[in-house]
Symmetry: C2
Subunit: 234 residues, 2 copies
């Protein structure tokens, strides 16, 4: 009713990019479940339905933020000195490793991204580019397409810099629950008790996510390297 003149401020018009950036920021700050159309509109100083003028629906927004995240992955890879140059036969594994850890660094800043990625199994161009870079490195090491293909599947989620949940906050199991576990899962209980004691004040609660990630990654890369050598010998 009122002349609400105060909001006639040179309001920068919405764009696809501004919406997606706001969506990413909102998810970073308040979590994925807080990313609703109304909340997003609110963050943009706009009504919910206005967003639909720039993006068809919420799925497009989810696809969009994943795309945006992997654009970030792309710049992360360029920043480091991991050019294609050192991707000879010997150095392919470290090169791939660095690419993957780079992606992981970005994804750690957007913990909601993994969730969106594999609940929507989105394939954005930026994502494809990331995979393509890794394929390129492997190809330059002389691996067959078949071996590369299997290897991508083997590495799985890890290509994108995560596996399972990132923000797992690997915290120690409550002692009460561990006692209960002793009765029907003695091996697991023993392991947990043992491992928790080894380094009581580790970086995280009781297991360092990054270490685990790299352990698994290296296991795979070693195995792939052995397959590559077998292939080269044939």
């Amino acid at each position: 009713m009122g002349p609400k003149a105060a909001e006639a401020r040179t309001r920068t018009p919405l764009t696809r990019e501004r919406v997606l950036q706001a969506a990413s920021d909102l998810a970073d700050r308040d979590g994925l479940e807080a990313l609703t159309m109304r909340a997003l509109a609110d963050a943009l100083g706009v009504e919910a339905m206005s967003i639909y003028y720039h993006l068809p629906n919420k799925d497009a927004i989810l696809d969009g933020v994943v795309e945006l995240t992997f654009t970030e992955v792309g710049t992360e890879a360029h920043g480091r000195g991991t050019g294609r140059s050192q991707a000879d036969a010997a150095g392919w594994a470290p090169a791939v490793r660095e690419r993957i850890l780079g992606a992981r660094r970005v994804l750690l800043r957007h913990p909601w991204a993994p969730v969106v990625i594999d609940q929507r199994k989105s394939f954005s161009p930026a994502m494809v580019r990331h995979v393509d870079g890794i394929v390129g490195i492997m190809r330059e090491a002389g691996m067959s397409h078949d071996l590369i293909h299997h290897s991508l599947h083997a590495i799985g989620n890890r290509i994108y810099g995560y596996v399972q949940e990132l923000s797992d906050d690997g915290q120690a199991p409550p002692p009460g629950q561990l006692d209960e576990m002793q009765s029907f899962a003695p091996n697991l209980a023993a392991m947990l008790a043992d491992v928790a004691h080894v380094d009581p004040e580790s970086t995280l609660g009781w297991c360092d996510d990054q270490t685990e990630f790299e352990f698994g990654l290296d296991l795979l890369l070693e195995g792939i390297e052995r397959r590559r050598l077998a292939e080269a010998a044939a």
Copy 2:
């Protein structure tokens, strides 16, 4: 109002188990997104709110169906001849492998389960028991708790018989999209084109999910075995 006498049929009363079984069946048949309180109640011949008498909320139902699925995994493991007996130092890997592939067989019958598991990261007793069995096998092979711990993380999702999406229907990418990809992801495009041609009438569209799963699993098991030998030598 009406005397609705027809429905006075000896209706078996709801129980937690009946609800969970119906939920699992419903998800099997119509997919996870079809598993709503109202639809579930309908399948049970009951109103939605009646379910709340037996289960506190929907999360409890999701936890419950995962539990139920892993009970199935437990019986699957017992059926096979993969007792602890052959879990000596040499045979630990095949034993673990069989346990994992057994879990996979079950999870393939419930494609929604992986989604629920890692979107809710549920830890049911039956799930814990499954992991415990694997820890037991590794322990009997003389591995340290530390190595076992790392190994579990390395295997990751695969412990539960899946990785990423199960019902991926790994079908060939549409040729149009592949052409477009050629411009900005040449390595990937080349690989896809190449691999698709190798065996045109494979079991699945163009890559066999089971083969990929086992490839990755074996890569990891081999690597772990080498770590175990290194540990034993020390």
